[in-house]
């Protein structure tokens, strides 16, 4: 009797499967038609904690290099130069800064996004929240060098942020 039971079971379960697939023809697809047919831009749909590309706000970067030390794969590269400022006071900083005191300057702040694994370990120790995740995620490129994000332009060193001065 297994013989007829098999036939019956096959027919019944195939029928059941067909009803399910038939019912799915009358449901809305859930696909989001990225990138051009979304209801709102994808970047607005992302949750607040989304981990996109890293970005650094150089205005509040203290140059402490904690992020560089935290990075497990050394994709952050910061160079600090100790420099004695020239006698005339710099226009950007106040006059009291000058003198012969050696001053730290961030000459290089590179993040190799091609290497980055978006783990978030660098954002946690940052004392001012200067390094953080943006929501940007689209940066396909043919040139891998374009994935080296340079937050300090060459030849234009940035003075680190100091709590007392701001």
């Amino acid at each position: 009797m297994d013989y007829f039971k098999n036939i019956f079971e096959s027919a019944a379960t195939v029928f059941e499967g067909l009803t399910i697939t038939a019912s799915h023809m009358f449901r809305k697809p859930i696909t989001i038609q990225y990138p051009d047919r979304t209801l709102s831009p994808v970047i607005e749909m992302l949750p607040s904690r989304y981990r996109g590309f890293l970005e650094v706000d150089m205005k509040i970067c203290t140059g402490c290099t904690l992020c560089m030390q935290a990075c497990p794969i050394q994709c952050i590269n910061i160079e600090i130069a100790k420099k004695t400022p020239s006698p005339q006071p710099s226009p950007s900083r106040g006059e009291g800064d000058g003198g012969g005191v050696p001053m730290r300057l961030i000459t290089k702040f590179n993040i190799d996004i091609a290497l980055c694994m978006f783990c978030g370990l660098c954002t946690e120790p940052c004392p001012t929240g200067a390094i953080r995740f943006s929501k940007r995620f689209e940066n396909a490129t043919e040139d891998i060098n374009k994935l080296m994000f340079k937050f300090v332009e060459e030849g234009k060193p940035v003075a680190p942020y100091k709590k007392s001065s701001g």
Binding site: N6, E9, S10, A12, T13, V14, E16, G17, I20, T21, H24, I30, L46, P47, S48, R49, Y50, R51, A70, C71, P72, M117, F118, C119, G120, L121, E124, P125, F133
Partner: protein, 370 residues
Amino acid sequence: MIRTEEMTISMGPQHPATHGVLRFIVKTDGEVLHEVKPDVGYLHRSMEKIAEKVGYISFQPYTDRIDYVCAMTCNHAYAMAVEKAAGISAPERAEYLRVIASELNRISSHLIMAGVMAMDIGAFTPFIHAIRERETVNDLFEMLCGARLTYNYVRIGGVSFDAPANFKEKCVEFLNHFEPIIDEFNRLISFNKIYVERLANVGVVSREDAIAYNLVGPNLRGSGVRFDVRKDIPYSIYPKIDFNVPVGIGEAGKVGDCYDRYMIRIREMKESCKIVRQALEQMPEGEIMAKVPRKIKPPVTEVYSRCESARGDMGFYLVSDGTDKPYRLKIRTGSFSAMSIVEKIAPGLMIADLVAFISSLDVVAPEVDR
């Protein structure tokens, strides 16, 4: 007796059924297999050596990559190992969040397994349905920690983010939506006669073999052995939670066949839903991160921590020499031991059975090689 000439076929590393980069050297005379040799190592990334170089905290994101289908439990197991060595204890709310995240991830991992199993048998629709549900879990994770695949959520001493304001409602909404979907999935594919016939009595792993070959997790339970780290060596908050451990009973064929292993996963998804519900109910308010020094320096010690991952008993054996980097870290994963049994069970199966057998073991290639 007529004997035909055997041919040796290399199945993989680029074969659609070998999820990732596994390779099997198959000797066959047509359809029936005579010998199958698993050839692992195509995805070896020297995880254990990396751990010796990068230190305790920096290794945390690497644990995501051990088993990317179920990364939360890897995170959890590693965090537990270091906590045990350094004598840190995570706050209770963090433990609850860990369990919620792990169980949601177990659901998503089992969904992948169930879907891929159906796809290997030839049905494409269940796979996409499973992926569709997994996307919802991923959305929840994205809300929780900002990532969809490699979470790095469970940290040494706690978790990295507290649950967002509406996380609980979203979770419950998902579970309410998901539980009927499992039933629909079952009606669509699990109880389908062709599907049952393809899986029942195929690749039977006996109880003795399962223990001897060190199978763990759902593969072991599929062979009728009731062993679950969550129940038998309880950790985190699992003792406070009421759930069942499904065991293979041979409902369509013999105990320990592919269908048993498959149904165990389906049942575990339901159990995971139960666990998440309870954990969401019981979750207390409070801290989510214990005080952890910037450089963890455990005393000279050796610890072993076990965690029930979606692929079974996941172990981290940690030898500390008092510095901020582990002296040795051994990762013990379920997929690796599952691969060893292929050689024993496969002769006599057909090529189509081998595909079903491998996917019923739920092998994830990076977890095999690490």
